[in-house]
């Protein structure tokens, strides 16, 4: 079989049927099972000739089968337990859909992400998660804050906080926690909503900050619309950050040099109290930060670092103070690095950490796509 007999409308129809238990996967090389659609957003800085070729090569490396479809930006990848529909309409920000068990799909993608410097998750910041809630009726929220590696055991309020609440107005609990002084530990890890559309039906939608989504209900289109909007917003943020803040020195034809780009500032609501622990945790080379550095402490209140993002093999500069960090991305560097850092700082050090730089992790992109949709 050279191509899977499926195109984009066909995928939508089949996955909508799967959501209502009426699809078995006839004509596909794997069974469609389950009524929940899982979607993952990954960022791929491809090197091969076209995104589909990247998909093929990645599948091959991970011992999976690859198949084209009747759509030029859609591929099918599978092995024995199940299959993935890989949507590369945006050749850099891919959406991967499946009805296979979450555990299987996540382990496959985790292997891809950890095994390749060109593939990363899309890391949704607290602000992005927060804005997502406006798209439907809130049903559920989850905070999972793990400060063990960056925060000292003594003298820290809310070093580990995990709560999960389902029901009407779940965000009330988030407000209670914040008002009680736990704003720096109340990470917005996951949200669940009910999406309603008079034409398409209803979908219960859950989103996790590491760019994964799960939808159950009447319509794959409704699920896809929600996921696409979030990831379009994310992609716009990453690209804007790279364009505006990537630092470059340019030789001017008329003589001399000019500087473009600039530093990005992240401001903490919870100051760093133990700089040595913060540095040891941040630069441990381990997941989720995967940062390498030999920091130069000027004093307890100011540290310089030339940092290597081991995930993508790129260097950037960082100045660290108790109240925040300055980040210097190189032109041509990957903006995803910044969002991975910010989203994970919000889950490991200070849930209230925010950027103070214009157009970085801001709402206006969201509005732009909301209006377009």
């Amino acid at each position: 079989m050279r191509d899977a007999v499926i195109d984009r409308p066909g995928l939508s129809e089949r996955l909508s049927r799967a959501m209502t238990g009426r699809e078995s996967g006839d004509g596909l090389p794997f069974r469609i099972r389950g009524d929940t659609i899982k979607s993952f957003a990954i960022e791929v800085n491809g090197e091969a000739d076209g995104a589909l070729e990247d998909v093929r090569q990645i599948a091959e490396r991970h011992h999976m089968q690859f198949m084209h479809t009747h759509d030029a930006s859609l591929a099918v990848v599978w092995d024995e337990p199940g299959g993935l529909f890989v949507d590369v309409l945006d050749p850099r920000f891919w959406l991967v859909h499946t009805t296979a068990p979450m555990r299987w799909a996540r382990s496959k993608l985790r292997a891809v992400v950890s095994g390749s410097p060109s593939v990363d998750w899309c890391w949704l910041t607290s602000r992005m998660m927060d804005r997502m809630r406006l798209q439907g009726e809130e049903r559920w929220f989850k905070a999972d804050f793990r400060g063990g590696s960056l925060l000292p055991a003594e003298g820290t309020k809310g070093r580990r906080l995990k709560v999960q609440l389902e029901g009407d107005d779940p965000l009330d609990l988030q407000r209670v926690l914040r008002d009680a002084g736990y704003q720096s530990s109340t990470a917005l890890t996951g949200v669940a909503l009910t999406l309603r559309d008079p034409d398409l039906g209803n979908v219960d939608e859950a989103a996790y900050y590491r760019g994964s989504f799960s939808g159950r209900g009447d319509s794959f289109d409704l699920h896809l619309g929600f996921v696409s909007q979030v990831i379009q917003h994310y992609a716009a943020q990453v690209r804007s950050t790279e364009d505006r803040y990537g630092i470059a020195w340019k030789i001017e034809e008329s003589g001399g040099a000019s500087l473009s780009g600039g530093l990005i500032e992240v401001v903490f609501a919870r100051p760093i109290s133990r700089m040595d622990q913060f540095l040891a945790g941040l630069f441990s080379c381990r997941e989720p930060f995967r940062l390498w550095a030999v920091p130069r402490p000027v004093s307890e209140r100011f540290v310089e670092a030339e940092v290597v993002d081991l995930h993508v093999g790129q260097r950037f500069r960082m100045d660290i103070t108790p109240d925040g960090i300055r980040i210097y991305l190189c032109r041509g560097g990957c903006g995803n690095t910044l969002y991975r850092l910010l989203a994970n700082l919000q889950h490991r050090f200070d849930a209230a950490a925010r950027t103070a730089s214009e157009d970085v992790d801001q709402d206006r992109f969201y509005g732009q796509f909301h209006e377009d949709s």
Partner: protein
């Protein structure tokens, strides 16, 4: 940019008795020689908590390292700023030492807006533009700079920077207004970190991470010049002799570090047309089995730390009470 090596300008911050850093680790500042140019940039851009005091007066950065021919001779201006509304031009010389070079100062004195327009362009008509030079220096050097300028009867503005404040003394420069402003603790945003006068050790500090990044991308061979291009702000603008000097410094410094701390990891290629300027990555954790990769990167971190005379920060493990809960079968679900 304040040519002339100034070893004494590097300093160790005084140890803080409450610091959790060993005093031997309270380390090197970005070269103080380069503080004035970075402060000058910050005052135009207002980043990192630094006040945009020059931008508030209408100035923006026009050029760095601008070669300008005057009637008194050629000078490479460290930074040129312009105010479009005022049609004003301020060429700035950033000094590290206590004194100024007379010939260079005379060239600044002879400079006109027309000279700048001719050699690096201006965004407005130079015929009606005004120009007045400025010197930028560390606060401890200000007295010497002012004495020299007075001796030469040059009314240039003087911008001085310390760890606590930045002061602009307009003196006879009618295009800017004086100010004194506190600045945040630490260096100004570090855009310029290496130049031709940087110490050998500084090359290791900045080039090694770039090399590690290349190893992280799985590269087997890395050109020394590519490392320098990535890190040295004005690399492309430097002439051949300056580039050769920097390559030599970088090669010597890295070769020492490789010999002492990175045997079987990095080495200079001994042969070939660019012999000595190509680094071979012999062992990169990027190609190791994923299960041991993190430990291998940490190993490189320890080697790099040793090569720059520091130890990596380590924190006492503090797992909290989670383990106790787990022993009771009440473990918090770790999820992903």
């Amino acid at each position: 940019m304040g040519r002339g090596r100034d070893q004494a300008s590097r300093r160790i911050a005084p140890p803080d008795e409450h610091s959790s850093f060993p005093s031997s680790q309270v380390g090197w500042f970005v070269e103080r020689r380069l503080i004035p140019i970075n402060a000058w940039i910050a005052l135009h851009r207002g980043e990192g908590g630094w006040p945009a005091k020059l931008a508030e007066q209408g100035f923006r950065i026009h050029r760095f390292e601008a070669p300008v021919q005057t009637d008194a001779g050629r000078v490479v201006v460290d930074g040129v700023s312009v105010a479009d509304d005022l049609r004003a031009v301020i060429p700035t010389e950033c000094k590290s030492g206590q004194s100024i070079e007379n010939d260079q100062a005379e060239r600044y004195a002879a400079m006109t807006a027309g000279n700048v327009a001719r050699f690096v362009g201006l965004p407005f008509d130079s015929s009606s533009a005004e120009l007045s030079p400025m010197y930028a220096c560390l606060e401890e050097s200000k007295t010497g700079v002012v004495v020299d300028l007075d001796r030469l009867k040059l009314p240039f503005a003087v911008l001085s920077v310390s760890d606590e404040r930045v002061v602009l003394d307009a003196r006879g420069n009618g295009l800017v207004r004086s100010f004194e402003q506190p600045v945040p603790h630490g260096s100004p945003p570090r855009y310029v970190v290496l130049d031709v006068d940087s110490a050998d050790d500084e090359f290791v500090e900045y080039l090694l991470p770039e090399l590690i990044a290349s190893a992280g991308r799985g590269k087997e061979y890395v050109a020394l010049e590519d490392l320098l291009k990535a890190v040295v702000a004005f690399w492309e603008i430097y002439g051949g002799p300056a580039k050769r000097r920097m390559i030599e410094k970088a090669r010597n410094a890295l070769a020492r570090a490789f010999g002492r701390h990175f045997q079987n990891v990095f080495q200079f290629e001994a042969t070939g047309t660019a012999g000595g300027d190509i680094i071979r990555v012999i062992n990169s954790p990027a190609v190791f089995d994923p299960r041991g990769r993190t430990q291998s990167w940490q190993g490189l971190q320890r080697r790099a730390s040793a090569s720059v005379g520091r130890t990596p920060p380590r924190a006492r493990p503090a797992p909290g009470q989670q383990v106790l809960f787990e022993d009771l079968g009440l473990g918090i679900d770790l999820g992903d």
